[in-house]
């Protein structure tokens, strides 16, 4: 974290009617890091993700990415700036093939327009081939290239999660934001996913992930932020967070509520 941070979110606040989903949450992360965002159910993790990726506009606070403010309320502009995400309840283009899903991810970094499509110009055909090649490469990288021609909805749960990662990587992100990527995976699959994420980090893409399995996160992440009731209650290395009293309280309850 010595380098200047890639992402700086400052004092983010978001409420829905009377419900304060986020209050003064700050988070910063550097390049080549894996950062974990943990917290009990309803802590505001996904809301924070949605603010970060432009799906929600924050009521307070600012987000800077790579040194410039991030547009809010415009998911496609956020993706263009280099943040790609996956979703807690997998959102694939379920009736398209596995390969096509990843090809959609290349849309952002390619140009072919209407006339190119209608008249099948040489440039368009070349670009289309490049899109296909890159998409296939990414499927190989996440290990599901064998299923390239299948309809996405027919993949197993774990493979769907990996397809979402491949699709996100296709946008050439500088930050990959994963909302519970390991949900529903067994220990073996988790281990493989952890390896994949470390590989992604080492290739130069920062990773931010929401997770419930605290032990898995502790082993994987460089730094961890803990949310509870829409507020940040701890931030630090896995070791620091693990021994933080407020974190223990949030996860296990206070001594009073335990006895009650």
């Amino acid at each position: 974290m010595d380098e200047y941070p890639l992402l700086v979110a400052e004092r983010i606040g978001k409420h829905f009617g009377g419900l304060r989903a986020l209050q003064g949450v700050s988070l910063s992360l550097g390049e080549k890091t894996i950062t974990g965002l943990i917290g009990p159910n309803g802590a505001g993790k996904t809301t924070f993700f949605n603010v970060l990726t432009g799906i929600y506009k924050p009521d307070e606070g600012t987000v800077h990415f790579a040194g410039a403010p991030l547009p809010s309320g415009k998911p496609h502009r956020v993706a263009e700036r280099g943040i790609a995400r996956t979703f807690q309840n997998i959102r694939l283009f379920s009736q398209m093939t596995v390969l096509e899903n990843v090809m959609v991810g290349r849309h952002l970094r390619t140009r072919a327009g209407l006339l190119g499509a209608l008249f099948k110009t040489a440039g368009t055909l070349r670009e289309e081939q490049a899109i296909r090649d890159r998409a296939f490469q990414l499927l190989e990288f996440v290990g599901i290239a064998a299923h390239a021609t299948r309809v996405a909805a027919t993949l197993s749960y774990g493979d769907q999660r990996r397809l979402e990662i491949a699709r996100a990587l296709a946008t050439d992100p500088r930050l990959l934001a994963l909302d519970e990527p390991a949900a529903g995976m067994n220990a073996m699959e988790r281990k493989r996913l952890g390896g994949l994420l470390e590989q992604i980090r080492n290739m130069g893409t920062a990773v931010l992930l929401i997770e419930h399995d605290v032990r898995w996160v502790m082993g994987l992440c460089d730094r961890i932020t803990v949310l509870d009731h829409g507020e940040r209650i701890a931030e630090g290395t896995p070791r620091e967070v693990q021994t933080d009293l407020r974190v223990i309280e949030a996860y296990l309850g206070t001594s009073r509520s335990v006895t009650a």
Partner: protein, 347 residues
Amino acid sequence: MKGVSCRWLVLGGAALILLPFALELLLGNGWVRIVDFALLYVLLALGLNIVVGYAGLLDLGYVAFFAVGAYVYALLNSPQWGLHWPIWIALPAGALLAACFGVLLGAPTLKLRGDYLAIVTLGFGEIIRIFLNNLDSPINITNGPQGIELIDSLHFGSLSLGQMHHVLGLRIPAVVNVYYLFLVVVVLGMVFSHRLERSRIGRAWAAIREDEVAAASMGLNTRNLKLLAFAMGASFGGLSGGLFAGFQGFVSPESFTLQESVMILCMVVLGGMGHIAGVVLGAMLLAILPEALRAAGDWEQMVFGRIWVDPSNLRLLLFGMALVLMMLRRPGGLWPSNARRNELQGQ
């Protein structure tokens, strides 16, 4: 493999070229005319398929674009304004203006989906029709409910498609000339639809149809892509409208009612949303079936020996029954796309 498909292409092409002569011989000129109109419906259905089938935006006012194209051609080629422009300007102008109207309709409806979008588009279709009906005062633009008459027939320079021609001793009546023009346009429409579907843009439309939030998060500018879908679909409608005006020689607001929009949507849904071959089949079938059912009265007379139900009512009754039966037997359309078939089997 390549040789086989090539042979089919030649055979199919020959059949399509000979079709009007066969129809003329066997069933008379009236049927060539019916097929001409069916081809215009195919073009409309292909256009609506871009909006509904590819981008997943329900549009119940599609006939408005048909109307815009028809009136542009009519105004540029009739005594109404005293203009007689060549069709290579009048037809693209109609398509272009229709595309602009597509964007105009698209812009305020971007946040709407499904039922809500359908209602707004329905309203839009009616607004256009009512405008056409009332733009005869204070300045007379559209001639109101009387419509525009004496529209020049489709022509290339001095070659008019509205007259009989003799080629190598063969009589080629106007309806056959027009058939060939429409056939060429429809084939082009199919090729362009196919290319759009398989392109980067088509893939983006499919992604928006499947999951708009995910599509936006992957960096797709959903606003521009939806507007593009509306504009592309509308331009097909506008082109079809121009051809319609030139063929029919007369346009009035009556031709552009909600019922037409519903009919075109039926063609797309019944044929197989998002699947070009299905949409073409659906359009041909629904355009021709009501005409074929004109013989219903004769059948009734033949079977029962007398007329029980008024033939025109019987015709509509049979048509409605055919629609219901087709939808029950084949919920994904007569010839659905692969994706659609998977979806229905999955559920």
